[in-house]
């Protein structure tokens, strides 16, 4: 089913009776060429690109619950490519370019809104690291600008320039960064993949892997046994649990990240702003709610909720940056399970088991990576080797010392 305004108009005259399922509910087959475990943003994107770019026909996405019910269903919607290290920056810039053309590709309005991401800084040393980052962005083909205090004041006059404990000295702006409607990404990729023949199987939990001579040959699920010679795992915070079924221990800890939304308000924050003297970032959704967040709570968790201390820290950061949001009202707070890796950067790699591939370790930054992650993982699954853009995201990099550590914090996941 093709979506556009003409169809919308037609259907409105027919009392909306002609709409079809956004994706089918097919019966699961006994065998597929490729199985993707995980029906979140990354899993669905992978399936789409496998079908579209690599022309694979027989694909299934197995989702334990309902698609898009994990982190893609509850994130703070930011997209950007403003990383420091080339291994990351090149990848995220590719992702941003894919975001730019996404709606046309998947025929779904994901509300890609490139309204700018501004990172403010508060000291000279911070400025220096931001300059380095801006240069890295430009060298990797992305866009970056440095703004001084007055320039920031002219676009965001409501930031605290007078009474701040850590006065704003300037900021790094990426104009092409912005936000995307997260739900629509999952549903859009599902719709597009489904149109290309991908079977999306919901409420299908993988219970075990099936092995033969050191290779993975299928999975046992609550819907029966399914054969496949290529299996890609994209389950984010549940990676540890899934891969333990293959006797693998990962360099990943699962942590809770909380996010918050306010009551709906008339437009007041045009772009995405991150605070430099504390963990806080904010944007305003198209529905009017202020969507904001901060740091992870800091301890391992699968509970998808966190504590009050984080709420206080986040709000303190928010008010330090922009005092006016003191009067906005918190409507809802929630949490997700983040797959925090040991250097803060992702893993897209084959495993030591033939036919079994892993896409994980996205920490709290997986959403913006969705298109590139899907695209690169599809490349890996289709060809058996990684594309240049993701060939440094190896599982063995920790053993060999080729770390991709943006924050320079070392082997402690909760510091990334």
């Amino acid at each position: 089913m093709y979506y556009n305004w003409l169809k919308l108009l037609k259907e409105s005259l027919r009392n909306n009776s002609g709409w079809k399922k956004t994706w089918r509910n097919p019966e699961v087959k006994k065998k597929y060429d490729i199985i993707i475990i995980g029906g979140g943003g990354h899993g669905l994107a992978t399936a789409f690109y496998l079908a579209k770019e690599f022309k694979i026909k027989n694909i299934a996405v197995l989702e334990k619950n309902w698609i898009g019910g994990g982190n893609v269903g509850r994130n703070t919607t930011i997209i950007r490519s403003n990383y420091l290290l080339t291994e990351n920056e090149a990848f995220y810039e590719h992702s941003l370019k894919l975001w730019e053309g996404l709606e046309k590709q998947i025929n779904y309005n994901a509300m890609v809104s490139q309204r700018g991401v501004l990172n403010v800084f508060h000291s000279d040393s911070q400025r220096d690291t931001f300059i380095r980052r801006g240069n890295s962005m430009i060298l990797n083909g992305a866009d970056a600008e440095i703004l001084d205090k007055d320039q920031i004041k002219s676009i965001y006059p409501f930031l605290d320039f007078e009474n701040a404990r850590f006065p704003i000295k300037g900021g790094l702006l990426q104009k092409r960064g912005g936000t995307v409607r997260h739900d629509a990404v999952a549903w859009g990729y599902a719709h597009a993949a489904d149109e290309l023949g991908v079977d999306i199987i919901q409420n299908c939990e993988v219970i075990n892997f099936k092995f033969k001579s050191g290779n993975c040959v299928g999975v046992d699920t609550n819907k029966g046994h399914i054969k496949a010679n290529t299996i890609g795992c994209a389950v984010a915070g549940s990676s540890g649990l899934l891969m333990s079924k293959a006797n693998m221990t990962l360099p990943i800890e699962s942590h809770v990240l909380q996010a918050f939304v306010s009551e709906s308000l008339k437009p007041v924050i045009p772009g995405v702003i991150t605070f430099g003297a504390g963990h806080f970032y904010i944007s305003q959704s198209d529905k009017g709610g202020l969507v904001f967040g901060g740091d992870i709570d800091g301890y391992n968790s699968y509970a998808q909720r966190g504590g009050m201390t984080t709420l206080e820290d986040v709000c303190e950061g928010g008010l330090a940056l922009m005092p006016m949001i003191g009067k906005a009202r918190l409507l809802r707070m929630w949490g997700g399970i983040m797959d925090m890796s040991m250097d803060g950067s992702p893993i897209i790699d084959k495993t030591h088991i033939g036919g079994l591939y892993l896409n994980a370790g996205w920490c709290y930054g997986g959403f913006k990576a969705t298109p590139a992650s899907g695209w690169c993982f599809a490349h890996l699954l289709a060809k058996g080797y990684s594309h240049k853009l993701s060939d440094k995201f190896r599982l063995d990099r920790f053993k060999n010392g080729f770390l991709i550590d943006e924050k320079g914090q070392g082997a402690q996941p909760n510091l990334h």
Binding site: Y3, N4, W5, K7, L8, L9, L13, N16, W19, K20, T22, W66, A90, E103, K104, Y108, N109, M111, Q114, H122, S123, D128, I131, R132, N135, S136, M137, L139, F158, D160, N163, R165, D183, S262, E263, S264, L265, K266, P267, V268, A277, Q284, D286, K287, M308, E312, C315, E316, P323, M324, G326, K327, L330, L331, R332, L403, G408, Q409, G410, A411
Partner: protein, 983 residues
């Protein structure tokens, strides 16, 4: 129009009149009114416009679950949007305005949306706005954003502030309805430490809305009796206007206490963090609607809310009232209305055989309301009777009751899903099999009759007191008549094809749910997100259960099979400043001052933030207009004579014990096992992964006494690391650690005349000649006639230098004294900028180089990592990725033209290479102007750097559009042999 609808009874103080305004019109109300009750009493029916379709809306409820009557409140020079008229305590001078309408509430231009409802159905925006792609950001999105949003955020700062507090108790009772009151009463009498919180501005909960007799008292008098008894108990804390907004792990609750706007308080609210041993959820139940065509007109309310307005606020909604119900409770409303002489035109009961005994009430059994009429206010309803006939009934108010939903929200906050209870057709809190912290009782747990509620509460609180090991004291339970509650399933009216509203705030209809189902959004999560059902400021309190009942119907499943979405904090929306309290603006984080801060201020220092510290960055002399003049002067004064600097912020860790030396030897990657008493050594500290964590010095003061220094920024983390190593890795070692960063101040005195100056203050028995106190020596000394101090001969500047450590309270005096005794030598204070220039001149790594991704090898210190002992990080430092042949190395960079500034954060390229990531060879970490060399200089990491001294390269900064040609050199620009250090 003026208050004509009053009963002159209820919990209202009719002697205190209050003036208020709504949309520019002046009205009168009374003490005890809410804005909603006062408006109702004045006959105002139209209060707002809905979010999407701008439908005219009136008051639906009498509490914080109100989806319709949202107004903008104006007070204290500020505005508060999205405020529920049903919860605002009326105060003198209150000004309220309707929202989301233009040009007026009555004539709202955007109501044109309503005509396009088929086009604007659920999820429509996902299917369009995609073409042309540039139009999304330029046109569509700005329009959508402008149309969205209910209220406007004021940018004016509130004059009243928020505060925070902590409370602890044995038992937290949430809600002061009958179950909360009786539980607090029994527990309080028995001596338990009880906190009773009530969201409303009076105690009593839903009991305030009823006219019943309890122990021969009226409900109101019984409530007063209990409260009076509770007030006598010192172990009971009663809190009004206090809402439990969230339950967190381990019995921790968040409570927001608000203060009446009419009170002369500087504080508008307090955020209480309550730690309780046990808690009881006595939050009652909220009524739900029955969707039918056009069930959202002003004048259509929840039947229980009509009762509230009638009995508590003394307001008659109108003179022709009809009731639509599927359960027994609505008949109480009918009875109460009749007792005030109101014409109850009919009760339309969906049940074929309801158990009705009152002959005064006209009942249509097995019937449904299928439509309503009246544009800005209800005029009448269409009824479908059980014999298939449709007729019209005139009425101005319709009370709807689709059943009651226990207010389970808080019980879900720690992840327990509610359970379906079929006899009341509602969800109750799940049996929390993980921890037994929260117990739900009363209507919150499905005990809908007063007698069952009291008995259940008693049982529960007794069990809790037993668990708390508190002996129960005598109490008397009240006399209550027994009641019954009967309900039969009826979720929505199928008849009729005009829109039937479920979520009033987000304008979600039955059609939307049907459409979502059709498009395969069939889980409750999908349904919610696709239709936005339950995502408004009422958080779905009036709509969630009805929504999923309809979903269950469509999917041919039972409601428990379909399940429910989980509730999350906060229970009601809370302004963000509540969670900040006074930690705002300048008080966001503490300020740490160095021991010489005051002295520095007096001496015209300019300050810079280093973490939480304020450090002097330079001292401005009278004629100096530019910071560079000050800094260059300070550098020159050190290199040519002598200067001093407060370096107290660097971490100091005191290490003592028999095994201290062995411990330190395992901490640093370089050798410390041979460090003699009275000697200091540079120490390089690696993380366990082999990368550099920090550097500093460690001095051996005596056999088993060492003092370690760290960088300012890493003081805390290094200390923690040391404690980790001691307690977790080597607990058998005899070592004790303590941080002495704040206790001891540290003053660096540097320059060729430094020995001359310090000799003037060090007591004569200590010999500080070069022979007896060489480079890297240390000693416990005394200065100025017996003041305890420590002397270290270490140098960051590369000059002959010392550091004197003295208890912090004497630092100010010391520096003043140094200024005096050093007059001859023109001693001058220097700040962090000059310090920075000198260490760059000497190629010393500091913060910008120690960025966490750097190895000893990168810093040209590879050989320092001893391979013949165990130390943190040694093994993993050998990984191939960290030992590449041509890996990054610390180098110096000197611009070809000395006046060209090399900017930190620039990237290094070969002269002929294109500027892209592939050709990137490294980056600049630190840079400054060197007055010693009369040139800009810089430090950076360069691929294969140690083999490239003398090479010309370009330093590019595309971000700032700058490029400088430079030469690679040894990072030690000044005195590379270190002669000055050892003189």
């Amino acid at each position: 129009m003026k208050n004509s609808n009053r009963t002159n009874l209820g919990l209202i103080d009719y002697t205190t009149e209050i003036n208020f305004q709504f949309d520019g019109i002046a009205y009168k109300g009374f003490q005890g009114d809410t804005l909603a009750s006062a408006l109702m009493a004045n006959g105002v029916k139209l209060i707002g416009r809905s979010f999407k379709y701008h439908r005219p809306r009136g008051i639906l409820t009498s509490g914080s679950h109100e989806p319709n009557a949202l107004v903008e409140l104006v007070y204290d020079n500020t505005t508060e949007p999205n405020t529920k008229a049903t919860t605002i305590e009326l105060f003198e001078g209150l000004i309220a305005r309707s929202q989301n309408c233009w040009p007026s509430l009555k004539y709202d231009f955007m109501s044109i949306n309503d005509k396009f409802s088929n086009l604007l159905s659920a999820g429509f925006y996902y299917k369009t706005f995609m073409w042309p792609s540039s139009f999304w950001e330029k046109l569509y999105e700005p329009l959508i954003r402008k149309a969205a949003g209910l209220g406007k955020l004021s940018t004016v700062d509130n004059t009243r502030s928020s505060e925070k507090g902590f409370l602890h108790c044995d038992l937290l009772v949430i809600g002061s309805g009958p179950s909360g009151l009786i539980s607090a009463y029994i527990a309080g009498l028995s001596g338990a430490k009880v906190i009773l919180v009530e969201e409303d501005y009076i105690f009593g909960g839903n009991l305030n809305n009823e006219i019943i007799s309890i122990s021969k008292l009226s409900s109101h008098n019984w409530i007063n009796f209990i409260i009076t008894e509770l007030k006598k108990l010192p172990n009971v804390r009663l809190m009004l206007r206090s809402c439990a907004i969230g339950m967190f792990d381990h019995g921790v609750f968040g409570i927001i206490e608000k203060f009446n706007k009419s009170l002369e308080t500087k504080i508008s609210q307090v955020f209480w963090k309550v730690t309780s041993k046990k808690a009881m959820l006595c939050t009652g139940a909220l009524e739900r609607i029955i969707p039918f065509s056009n069930n959202d007109r002003p004048g259509i309310m929840l039947s229980g809310s009509i009762r509230s307005y009638l009995n508590r606020w003394g307001v008659i909604p109108s003179n022709k009232v009809a009731i639509f119900t599927n359960n027994d409770d609505a008949y109480i409303t009918a009875k109460n209305l009749i007792s005030y002489g109101v014409n109850v035109v009919a009760v339309i009961d969906t049940r074929e055989n309801p158990n009705i005994t009152d002959p005064n009430i006209k009942v249509y059994k097995g019937s449904q309301v299928i439509n309503s009429k009246g544009k800005l206010a209800l005029k009448g309803i269409n009824v479908l009777s059980n014999d298939g006939k449709v007729f019209y009934l005139e009425c101005n108010t319709l009370g709807v009751s689709g059943g009651w939903n226990p207010n389970v929200q808080l019980s879900c906050h720690t992840g327990v899903k509610p359970e379906w209870q079929n006899d009341i057709l509602a969800f109750i809190p799940g049996k929390n099999n993980i921890s037994t912290h929260l117990k739900a009782v009363g209507a919150a747990n499905g005990n809908f009759t007063l007698d069952s509620c009291m008995i259940a509460s008693e049982t529960a609180v007794l069990a809790i007191l037993k668990e708390l090991k508190i002996k129960v004291k005598n109490y008397k339970m009240p006399d209550i008549e027994s009641e019954t509650y009967n309900i039969q399933p009826f979720w929505y009216v199928e008849h009729g094809n005009q829109r039937k509203w479920i979520d009033f705030q987000n304008d979600v209809t039955v059609k939307d749910i049907e459409l979502a189902y059709k498009e395969n959004f069939r889980s409750v999560e999908h349904l919610k997100r696709y239709t936005t059902l339950g995502m408004g400021t009422d958080q779905g309190k009036t709509s969630n259960v009805t929504g999923l009942a309809i979903l269950a119907n469509l999917s041919n499943k039972t409601i428990p099979e379909v399940g429910t979405t989980i509730f999350r904090p906060p229970y009601v929306p809370v302004s963000l400043d509540a969670f900040v309290g006074s930690s705002k603006a300048k008080y966001f984080k503490p300020i740490r001052l160095t021991p010489t801060h005051e002295w520095a201020e007096k001496n015209h220092a300019s300050f810079v933030e280093t973490g939480l510290w304020l450090r002097a960055e330079w001292y401005t002399k009278e004629n100096e207009k530019d910071w560079r003049q000050s800094v260059d002067r300070e550098v020159n004064s050190v290199r040519n004579s002598v200067g001093f600097c407060d370096v107290s912020t660097l971490g100091k860790i005191d290490i003592q014990g028999k095994d201290s030396q062995e411990f330190i030897n395992k901490i640093y990657c370089n050798g410390f096992s041979k460090l003699a008493i009275g000697k200091v050594r540079y120490g390089l500290m690696l993380r366990e992964d082999g990368l550099v964590m920090d550097d500093g010095t460690t001095a051996r003061m005596s056999d088993n006494h060492f003092i370690m220094t760290t960088t300012t920024v890493n003081a805390e983390s290094v200390y923690r690391h040391l404690e980790f190593c001691h307690q977790c890795l080597w607990p058998e070692m005899d070592v004790q650690l303590i941080s002495t960063t704040d206790a001891w101040s540290q003053i660096a005195i540097a320059g060729p005349n430094s020995r001359k100056v310090i000799s003037k203050i060090i007591d004569p028995q200590f010999d500080v000649s070069n022979e007896n106190f060489p480079f890297m020596a240390c000693k416990e000394i005394s200065i100025c006639g017996g003041f305890r101090a420590r002397l270290f001969r270490i140098s960051f500047s590369g000059e002959l230098a010392y550091e004197i450590s003295i208890p912090s309270q004497y630092a100010s005096s010391l520096v003043s004294y140094l200024m005096e005794v050093g007059k001859e030598e023109n001693i001058a204070p220097y700040g962090t900028e000059a310090l920075g220039v000198m260490r760059i001149e000497k190629g010393h790594a500091a913060g910008p180089e120690l960025n966490g991704t750097v190895t000893a090898l990168n810093l040209n210190m590879g050989k320092m990592v001893s391979l013949t002992k165990d130390s943190i990080g040694m093994i993993l430092s050998k990984r191939i990725g960290l030992n590449l042949e041509d890996g990054p190395r610390l180098v110096g960079l000197k611009p070809i033209k000395p006046e060209n500034q090399i900017i930190s954060g620039s990237y290094i390229f070969n002269l002929k290479d294109k500027l892209n990531a592939e050709n990137d060879l490294g980056y600049v970490t630190s840079s400054c102007y060197s007055p010693t060399l009369n040139s800009y200089i810089a430090l950076g990491f360069l691929k294969d750097g140690n083999n490239r001294y003398g090479d010309k390269i370009k330093v590019s900064n595309p971000l700032l559009n700058k490029e400088v040609f430079a030469k690679v050199c040894n990072p030690i620009f000044v005195d590379p042999n270190g002669d000055r250090l050892r003189g």
